[in-house]
């Protein structure tokens, strides 16, 4: 079906007696608030959106095809570049899939390092979301505060694995580098600092009348719609489904730590905002416990054969990334390179609900709704 909306005009003169026309507006691909190269073609009638058609693929780099010619360890840097804001979870999902297939045992210290890295990355990712979301809404200050705090996390990562954004840190069987001396103490300091800072952020933004009016009641949907559209992560939890893969299908060593899974029932942008802020708190809680229980010695890489060959067969594993459920499917034929590698990306799946949410909405709310879905284009396009 050739969906050429560029040539359709609708005459709405019958209602008002005035001849009006629908206008086609291109939001993006270069646009300050589309969180990447993402194009949204909206048909508007005045200020109301009649239809919104997302166009993506500007950042499609063929990761899945490339992976068919790379060994599993070589694919790990490619995973960093999918969801570049929270690259640790991407690393982990691939390593977890291969380890599940091969039945490998990961040493304690490596598990702890993985968990700490993933949770720090979760905090960093939510800070980016907070800063940019508020920038879209119009407040400029929080963006800089968020990035200042994220800077501390990136410095920690820099010490740990040498990179600030594309970490390439995890390997099949463990992690590549051990924590340098003093790193754990710096991380503990950061956790304490961030807990206090979070209170400041709440005072600055969360109670602001203008802010509440912008977000409350916008972009609402219910549980049935959420399950139907395969939403995951905060999008699903904001409708009342208490589901977090860290608690319900535990992986790594998440089952050792106590943390809550915040949920809300309204299903609107305000609920998602509160949930993500609460998730930062819970991540800090997990981090506190993990840093406390960090084993003082141990290997960081398990016993893994030199050439990694998962047995022939297929496997699909999923873990909780800051954006939702990220899954990795590997079809192996017993060789050192995968036969087929597929990533189930949460941003891609969560974005499907955007046209439905935008129908009949105000143009000004489009930015608020898109921001609350929290997408990263590297992940949408893979």
């Amino acid at each position: 079906m050739n969906h050429n909306i560029l040539t359709t005009h609708v005459d709405t003169s019958s209602e008002t007696g005035l001849r009006t026309e629908e206008m086609l507006l291109n939001v993006g691909p270069q646009h300050p608030s589309t969180h990447g190269v993402f194009r949204l073609v909206v048909k508007i009638d005045g200020e109301t959106i009649k239809e919104a058609i997302p166009v993506m693929g500007y950042l499609h780099r063929g990761t899945e095809k490339l992976a068919e010619n790379l060994t599993y360890t070589q694919i790990i840097p490619y995973t960093d570049r999918m969801d570049y804001v929270s690259a640790m979870t991407n690393n982990y999902v691939l390593c977890h899939a291969v380890e599940t297939m091969m039945g490998l045992e990961i040493p304690e210290r490596a598990q702890f390092l993985r968990l700490i890295a993933m949770e720090l990355n979760r905090v960093a990712s939510h800070l980016v979301w907070w800063g940019t979301y508020l920038l879209d809404i119009g407040a400029m200050g929080p963006f800089l505060y968020a990035f200042r705090d994220r800077e501390t996390i990136l410095d920690l990562f820099n010490e740990l694995c040498g990179a600030r954004m594309t970490f390439n840190y995890m390997r099949v069987g463990g992690v590549k580098w051990d924590a340098p001396p003093g790193w754990i103490d710096k991380a503990k300091e950061f956790v304490q600092y961030m807990k206090k800072e979070l209170n400041n952020y709440h005072q600055l933004v969360t109670g602001n009348e203008i802010f509440i009016n912008r977000l409350r009641g916008i972009g609402k949907f219910d549980t049935k719609t959420a399950l139907d559209y395969s939403l995951s992560g905060v999008m699903l939890r904001s409708t009342g489904v208490k589901w977090d893969l860290r608690k319900d299908e535990p992986y790594c060593i998440y089952d050792r730590f106590e943390f809550d899974v915040p949920t809300a029932t309204e299903g609107d942008c305000m609920a998602r905002y509160h949930l993500r802020m609460a998730e930062i708190e819970q991540s800090l809680r997990i981090l506190e416990q993990a840093l406390e229980q960090f084993p003082s010695e141990g290997e960081v890489m398990g016993k893994v054969p030199r050439v990694i060959r998962p047995p022939a067969g297929e496997a699909y594993v999923r873990i909780e990334s800051p954006r939702g459920e990220i899954g990795c499917y590997i079809a192996s034929q017993g060789k050192d390179k995968p036969w087929r590698l597929k990533f189930r990306r949460p941003s891609f799946t969560n974005l499907q609900i955007l046209p439905k949410l935008l129908q009949g909405e105000n143009l000004a709310n489009m930015v608020a709704i898109l921001g609350s879905i929290d997408i990263v284009l590297g992940e949408v396009d893979c």
Binding site: D255, A315, Y316
Partner: protein, 395 residues
């Protein structure tokens, strides 16, 4: 690889090709036995290297260059000798540890009944010990197989004995590997050894069809000795009953022939996997979603895979009501690839089906808006297919 630029003379090519082919034939026979034995053992590189190297000279008789071919053939022969020696040594070690294998395996499985998080250091040590014992057992099985292979190689007419021995060793190795996998992972195993071995054998048989049938029979015998203890993972417990339930519910509603295959996927956290007939897929999908006992309201993943003889679409469902996962595969041919769209049942399938269409060329009749999503609209070809010709060559 500057050698690639030099072209060989035709005589050199032919001579090298014949030589390589002869060597490859001899090698292949030996490889099959060795590979069957060692395939399901833990990846011991020595036994698998010759496997890989054997396939190299076989696969490219002409396209390789002259000096490389010779070198490759020489390497293969050398590797074969090394492999024989190594396998003989391993077999010796394994022989010593066979006796206590059964008890240690059950002990290992029993101790790993608790998830890793609750293990005390003693239990952890016990688990480690069990894992070590299993490794020894595996090596022993490899040795037996090697002996059988060598005997078989010496007396080529003893094909039957060879096959039997190879199958027995393979089955033992399969069982050992299965037990080790269980001990290493937190989740529990399933109780039916039959399905377990069947799944493993099914996976192996894709690559080597030679002694598959014999292996199955032997596996039934061998795994009768071990019945790994039942384990209760955090989510609802054993998955085999779930698989049975799904199979029975679907067969009741649609008949036996709708399910082409059903097994527990050991490698993927024991998810029950079904292969559904392509023609009735939409009806079955609706049943999966609407039936109260199944109630798979959540579609986690949908994508296609290109196996060279066919295309497959893989679905991963989850039921929040029952807290159970299900994986479904639907096959279709490469020439006329069509799988009924489930977009009307789960809206989340929309873009996933578009992506599968975009990258693999599988059509989804019933999809309201099937067009390319990641690639530009005027792209020609389906990149993820194995026979894809690059469209943007000049870029």
């Amino acid at each position: 690889m500057s050698d690639e630029k030099r072209k060989p003379t035709p005589e050199e090519k032919a001579a090298a090709a014949a030589e390589a082919r002869a060597k490859a034939e001899a090698l292949r026979k030996l490889r099959e036995q060795e590979a069957q034995v060692s395939q399901e053992a833990s990846p011991v590189e020595a036994s698998q290297e010759p496997q890989e190297k054997a396939s190299a000279p076989e696969a490219k008789p002409v396209s390789e260059m002259t000096p490389e071919e010779k070198a490759a053939a020489k390497k293969a022969a050398a590797a074969e000798a090394i492999a024989k020696a190594k396998a003989a040594k391993e077999a010796k070690e394994a022989a010593e540890a066979e006796a206590p294998v059964a008890e240690q395996q059950s002990e290992a499985v029993a101790t790993s009944a608790k998830p890793v998080s609750e293990m005390t250091p003693e239990e952890k040590a016990a688990a480690k010990k069990a894992a070590a014992a299993e490794a020894l057992a595996k090596a022993k099985a490899a040795k037996e197989a090697k002996e059988a292979a060598e005997n078989g190689a010496n007396s080529a007419s003893d094909a039957d004995a060879k096959a039997k021995a190879a199958a027995a060793a393979k089955a033992k190795a399969a069982a050992a590997a299965a037990a080790k996998a269980k001990a290493a992972r937190e989740a529990g195993g399933d109780e039916s050894g039959d399905d377990d071995a069947k799944a493993k054998a099914a996976a192996a048989a894709k690559a080597k069809a030679a002694a598959a049938a014999a292996a199955k029979a032997k596996a039934a015998q061998a795994t009768g000795d071990e019945t790994p203890a039942e384990e209760a993972p955090k989510a609802p417990s054993k998955n085999q009953p779930y698989l049975d339930k799904y199979v029975s519910r679907i067969s009741e509603a649609f008949g036996q022939e709708v399910i082409e295959a059903s097994y527990i996927n050991e490698l993927s956290k024991e998810v029950p996997t079904l292969t559904i007939q392509n023609e009735r897929w939409h009806q079955v999908a609706q049943f999966l979603r609407d039936d109260e006992q199944l109630s798979f309201e959540y579609l986690s993943d949908l994508h296609g895979v290109d196996y060279e003889d066919r295309l497959e679409v893989y679905y991963h469902f989850y039921s929040y009501k029952n807290r159970q996962s299900l994986a479904v595969k639907v096959k279709t041919s490469r020439e006329e690839s069509k799988v009924a769209s489930v977009m009307d049942l789960w809206h989340g399938a929309n873009w996933n089906e578009r992506e599968t269409f975009d990258l693999l060329g599988i059509h989804f009749p019933g999809h309201k808006d099937l067009r390319r999503i990641l690639l530009p609209d005027d792209w020609v070809g389906y990149p993820l297919r194995k026979d894809y010709v690059q469209y943007d060559e000049e870029v």
